[in-house]
C-alpha cells in the first residue's frame, strides 16, 4: 500500500524543483533578458539551490524515507534488476561525460565583478580644493524653488555640457546607449534606470564626474572604467549644471541626507 504512494513523486518533486530553478534562470536571463549568467556564477547559485532543496526534502525522517525509499527499492528489489542495471550504467556514464566536459580547456574569460556604486571617500581633493562629500550640496539646487527662471537656464547650460561631452557614451536619451557604448566594458551607466542616479546624492555624482574612472576605489575596477576625469575638461560650475540636467531630463530626484 505505502509502496503505491511512494512511487516516484517525492524524488520527482526534488528533480522538478532543482530543474525548474535552473530552467527558470535560463528562461529569464538567457532568453528573456538576453544576458546569460556566467557559468561559474551559475554553478555557485545552483550549488546553494541543491543544498537548500536537499535540506528541505530531508527535514524529517519521514520525508527522508520518502525520498530514499524508491532509490533503496531500486537497489534492493530483485524484481527491478533490469532497471537497476540500466540506471547503474547511465549514471556513471553521465558522470564521465561531466568530467570530460569539465576538463576541456575553458574559453570562458575570468569573471570581473565590480562594485558599481562603491562607498565614496568622506572627502576628496578636486580643483585643488578639499570637498567634504558628507555635507556637499549642489549650490544651484535651491534655485529650483527660489528662482525657477535662473534654474531653467542652468539646466539648459547643463544640457549643452552633456550633449558636447557625455552623449557619446551615456546616450542622448540618457539611457546608456550612446553611439560608442557597445565598444566599452563596463558599459556606460543608464541614468533613466532607477538603479543609478535616482539612488544617489548629488555629492556622489559630483565626485564620480569630477574624478571619473581613475578616481574609483579598487573594488570598482578603475582600470577598465572609461568614464573620463571631468575635472580636466569642465569647471566646477559646469559639473553642477550637468548634474541638474541629468535629474531634470530623467525626472528623477536626487537623494538627500536631510528631510525636505
Amino acid at each position: 500500500m505505502t509502496y503505491q504512494r511512494l512511487r516516484v513523486p517525492r524524488l520527482a518533486q526534488l528533480v522538478l524543483v532543482i530543474g525548474g530553478t535552473y530552467g527558470g534562470f535560463w528562461l529569464i536571463f538567457d532568453l528573456w533578458l538576453g544576458q546569460p549568467i556566467p557559468r561559474s556564477l551559475m554553478g555557485m547559485y545552483m550549488f546553494f539551490v541543491v543544498v537548500g532543496v536537499l535540506m528541505v526534502f530531508t527535514a524529517t525522517e519521514k520525508s527522508t524515507g520518502q525520498l530514499v525509499g524508491p532509490i533503496r527499492a531500486l537497489v534492493e528489489d530483485p524484481a527491478r534488476r533490469w532497471l537497476r542495471n540500466v540506471v547503474f550504467t547511465v549514471v556513471p556514464a553521465l558522470a564521465a561525460l561531466g568530467v570530460y566536459l569539465q576538463m576541456q580547456p575553458s574559453d570562458e574569460p575570468p569573471l570581473e565583478l565590480r562594485s558599481i556604486h562603491p562607498a565614496p571617500p568622506s572627502s576628496v581633493k578636486i580643483f585643488g580644493k578639499r570637498y567634504d562629500l558628507m555635507s556637499l550640496e549642489n549650490p544651484y539646487r535651491h534655485l529650483e524653488k527660489d528662482d525657477p527662471e535662473q534654474f531653467r537656464e542652468l539646466v539648459a547650460a547643463g544640457g549643452e555640457v552633456y550633449i558636447r561631452n557625455c552623449q557619446y557614451c551615456h546616450g542622448d536619451k540618457l539611457d546608456g546607449k550612446g553611439p560608442y557604448a557597445q565598444g566599452l566594458n563596463p558599459v556606460p551607466l543608464n541614468f533613466q534606470d532607477i538603479g543609478t542616479i535616482a539612488q544617489l546624492q548629488e555629492s556622489f555624482l559630483f565626485w564620480r564626474i569630477a574624478t571619473g574612472g581613475p578616481g574609483l576605489p579598487k573594488e570598482a575596477t578603475p582600470w577598465i572604467s572609461s568614464m573620463p576625469v571631468w575635472e580636466d575638461f569642465l569647471s566646477e560650475e559646469q559639473i553642477w549644471q550637468v548634474i541638474l540636467y541629468l535629474y531634470d531630463y530623467t525626472g528623477h530626484r536626487p537623494r538627500s541626507w536631510g528631510h525636505e
Binding site: 533578458l33 538576453g34 544576458q35 546569460p36 556566467p38 533503496r72 537497489v75 534492493e76 537497476r84 547503474f88 549514471v91 556513471p92 556514464a93 558522470a95 564521465a96 568530467v99 570530460y100 566536459l101 576538463m103 576541456q104 580547456p105 574559453d107 570562458e108 574569460p109 569573471l111 570581473e112 565583478l113 565590480r114 558599481i116 549643452e160 550633449i163 558636447r164 552623449q167 557619446y168 542622448d172 536619451k173 539611457d175 546608456g176 546607449k177 553611439p179 560608442y180 557597445q182 565598444g183 566599452l184 566594458n185 563596463p186 558599459v187 551607466l189 543608464n190 534606470d193 538603479g195 581613475p214 579598487k218 575596477t221 578603475p222 582600470w223 577598465i224 572609461s226 573620463p228 576625469v229
Partner: protein
C-alpha cells in the same frame, strides 16, 4: 536599435546579444506605414506642429539647434552633423527626386528607427506614434513644407527577386564605367578616389557597402532600390533615376544593383559584444608572415568596435574607422596577430595620390596591439587607455610608411597616453608586415612566445587569459598622437589542445562510480538477506 548599439547591463562581464527578431518586429509597424504610403493610402493622420515643437525643444534641440538649422552646441563634434531642417533635405526618402517634399512616412520612420552609424538615435522607446506624428508636422514647418502636398512616391515597378543572375548583373552595372565603384570602391568598401563634401561643406565618406548595419536606411533590397532611385539628398550620392541626367537607369537595372549591394555584407565584421576572447589557433608549422596568406582564415575572427579617444588629453570626436577584426595563431616558437580593418584611405605622407584625398596634415596609418608588461595576480589590469604609472603596457606598433621611410614596426612602453618610451623592436623580436587592398588594411605582427627579459615583456603561455587591446590611427582623417580610435581590454587565449587527460579522467570516473554502485548493491542485498 541595431547591431551597433544597445546594452544596459552594468555587470562588467556580460552584454546583451543582438536580438535581431525583436528588432525586426519593432520595425514592423513602420514598414506597414511605409507600404501604406507607397500604395497611396492616406495612412497617416496629420500631427499637431505645436505639440511637436514642445517635444522638439525637450528632445531634439540640443542637436538639431534652436532654429532647426542643425547648429546645436555639439554640431562640430558630430560626423555626420545633425540635419539642418531648414533645407528640406532628407537623406532617407521615398519620393521622387523632382519632388520637394518627402513622404510623412519617411520622416516618421527616421524618427522612429534612428539612423545607424550616426548620433541620431531611434525614438520609438520614448515617444509614442502620436508624438512622432506631431514632431513630423513640426519639422515640416521648419522647412516651409507645411502647406506642401506630400511628394509622389517613386515607382518600384516589379521587384526583381534576389538570385545569382540578378546579383551578377548588378555587379556588372556597379563596375560599368565605374558607375558606383568610382565612389564606393572596387570591393564596395567606400575607399575614396576623390574627396567628397556634402552641401554644407562637411567631409562625407561614401558608405562602406560591406557593412550594411551602418546604412542610414536598411539593407533590404527595397530600401537600397529607393536610395539608388532618389540618391541621398545633400550629399554626393546621386540619383540614378534623375530625368535630367544621362546616368538614368531602368527600374530593372536598379533592382539588380540593389540585389548586388545587398549581397556584399561581410558578417565576420559584425561586432558581437558577447565575444570578448580572441582564441589563438595552434599551428603545427610556422606562423605565416604574409597578411594575405589563406591560412589566417582558419583562425576564428573577433571583431571589436573602435571607440574614438574622447577620454583624456587632446580629445578626438570624429573617427573614420569603426571596427577592427583580429585573428591570432601560434606555433611552438611564435605568436602572430592578423589585424584587419576597413580604412577608406591608404595614408602615405608625401605620396601625391594619398595627399590629394587626405584631410590637411596627413600622417601615417597606424595600428597598435596593447599588452600588459606583466600580468598581475588579481583582477587588476593596467588602465585600459595605454596603461598607468604603476602598470605599464607595451604597444606593438605597425605604421604604413611615408615617401621618405618604409613601413615598419616599433615597440613602445607606455605609462598613460602622455608617457611613452620607444624601445628596440628588433631586440624584442617584433616583426610585422602590412598590405592595403580595396579599402582594407591587413597587418601581421609576430613575436617569439618567450622573452629574454620578463621585466620588460610578457610571455605567452597556453591556457592563460591575457588582456589585450587595440588602437588604430587613420592618418588621412587627421588622426595622430592622442587623436585615434581604440578598443577596451579584451582577452587573448592560446587555447591548448585538450590532449588525453579528459578521456583518462572520464574513464576513471566511470569505473570508480561503477565499482561504488556494485559495492552498494551487494551490501544492500546481503543486508536484506540476513
Amino acid at each position: 536599435m541595431n547591431v551597433q548599439q544597445g546594452s544596459e547591463m552594468v555587470n562588467a562581464a556580460r552584454r546583451r546579444r543582438p536580438l535581431r527578431w525583436r528588432y525586426r518586429l519593432a520595425r514592423l509597424p513602420v514598414w506597414l506605414m511605409v507600404l501604406g504610403a507607397t500604395a497611396g493610402m492616406p495612412a497617416l493622420a496629420a500631427g499637431d506642429a505645436d505639440l511637436g515643437e514642445e517635444i522638439y525643444t525637450q528632445r531634439c534641440m540640443l542637436c538639431h539647434g534652436e532654429e532647426g538649422d542643425g547648429m546645436g552646441p555639439a554640431a562640430e563634434r558630430l560626423n555626420p552633423p545633425p540635419r539642418d531642417f531648414t533645407m528640406a533635405q532628407y537623406k532617407i526618402r521615398t519620393t521622387r527626386v523632382d519632388e520637394i517634399a518627402p513622404a510623412d512616412a519617411d520622416l516618421v520612420r527616421m524618427i522612429h528607427d534612428g539612423m545607424p552609424g550616426t548620433a541620431m538615435p531611434g525614438w520609438s522607446d520614448v515617444l509614442s506614434d502620436a508624438d512622432i506624428q506631431d514632431l513630423t508636422a513640426f519639422l515640416k514647418t521648419l522647412a516651409g513644407l507645411e502647406e506642401e502636398a506630400p511628394g509622389q512616391v517613386i515607382d518600384y515597378g516589379t521587384q526583381v527577386p534576389v538570385s545569382p543572375e540578378s546579383i551578377a548583373q548588378g555587379r556588372e552595372l556597379f563596375h560599368e564605367d565605374d558607375r558606383c565603384s568610382e565612389c564606393h570602391g572596387q570591393a564596395g568598401k567606400g575607399d575614396a578616389v576623390k574627396k567628397l563634401k556634402d552641401d554644407s561643406g562637411y567631409r562625407t565618406w561614401p558608405r562602406n557597402l560591406t557593412k550594411p548595419w551602418t546604412f542610414r536606411g536598411s539593407n533590404d533590397p527595397r530600401d537600397i532600390f529607393a536610395r539608388i532611385t532618389t540618391g541621398i539628398a545633400g550629399t554626393q550620392m546621386p540619383s540614378f533615376d534623375d530625368p535630367d541626367s544621362e546616368g538614368r537607369l531602368s527600374i530593372e537595372q536598379r533592382w539588380h544593383l540593389a540585389n548586388y549591394v545587398n549581397s556584399l555584407e561581410k558578417t565576420e565584421k559584425v561586432v558581437r559584444p558577447e565575444n570578448t576572447v580572441i582564441r589563438a589557433l595552434r599551428l603545427p608549422g610556422a606562423v605565416p608572415t604574409e597578411p594575405d596568406d589563406p591560412l589566417w582564415q582558419q583562425a576564428l575572427p573577433s571583431t571589436f568596435m573602435l571607440v574614438p579617444q574622447l577620454i583624456a588629453g587632446e580629445r578626438f570626436f570624429t573617427p573614420a574607422n569603426d571596427t577592427i577584426t583580429i585573428r591570432a595563431m601560434y606555433s611552438e616558437e611564435e605568436i602572430g596577430f592578423h589585424l584587419e580593418w576597413d580604412d577608406r584611405t591608404r595614408s602615405i605622407p608625401g605620396e601625391e595620390a594619398a595627399e590629394k584625398i587626405a584631410d590637411p596634415g596627413i600622417s601615417e596609418d597606424r595600428v597598435a596591439i596593447q599588452l600588459p608588461v606583466a600580468l598581475t595576480a588579481g583582477a587588476e589590469k593596467p588602465y585600459f587607455l595605454h596603461g598607468d604609472s604603476r602598470h605599464p603596457v607595451n604597444l606593438w606598433f605597425w605604421r604604413s610608411g611615408s615617401a621618405e621611410r618604409p613601413a615598419g614596426v616599433s615597440l613602445v612602453t607606455a605609462r598613460g597616453i602622455a608617457d611613452r618610451d620607444t624601445r628596440d623592436a628588433a631586440e624584442a623580436g617584433l616583426t610585422g608586415k602590412g598590405s592595403y587592398q580595396d579599402g582594407s588594411w591587413q597587418v601581421v605582427l609576430r613575436r617569439p612566445l618567450m622573452t629574454a627579459d620578463l621585466s620588460q615583456d610578457l610571455e605567452f603561455h597556453e591556457g592563460t587569459f591575457i588582456p589585450v587591446a587595440f588602437s588604430v590611427w587613420d592618418g588621412s582623417n587627421s588622426e595622430s598622437d592622442s587623436a585615434h580610435t581604440l578598443t577596451t581590454w579584451y582577452w587573448l587565449l592560446l587555447k591548448p589542445p585538450p590532449g588525453n587527460a579528459p578521456w583518462l579522467f572520464a574513464g576513471l570516473a566511470f569505473v570508480l562510480m561503477l565499482l561504488g554502485e556494485v559495492w552498494w548493491a551487494r551490501t544492500a542485498q546481503r543486508r536484506q538477506r540476513s
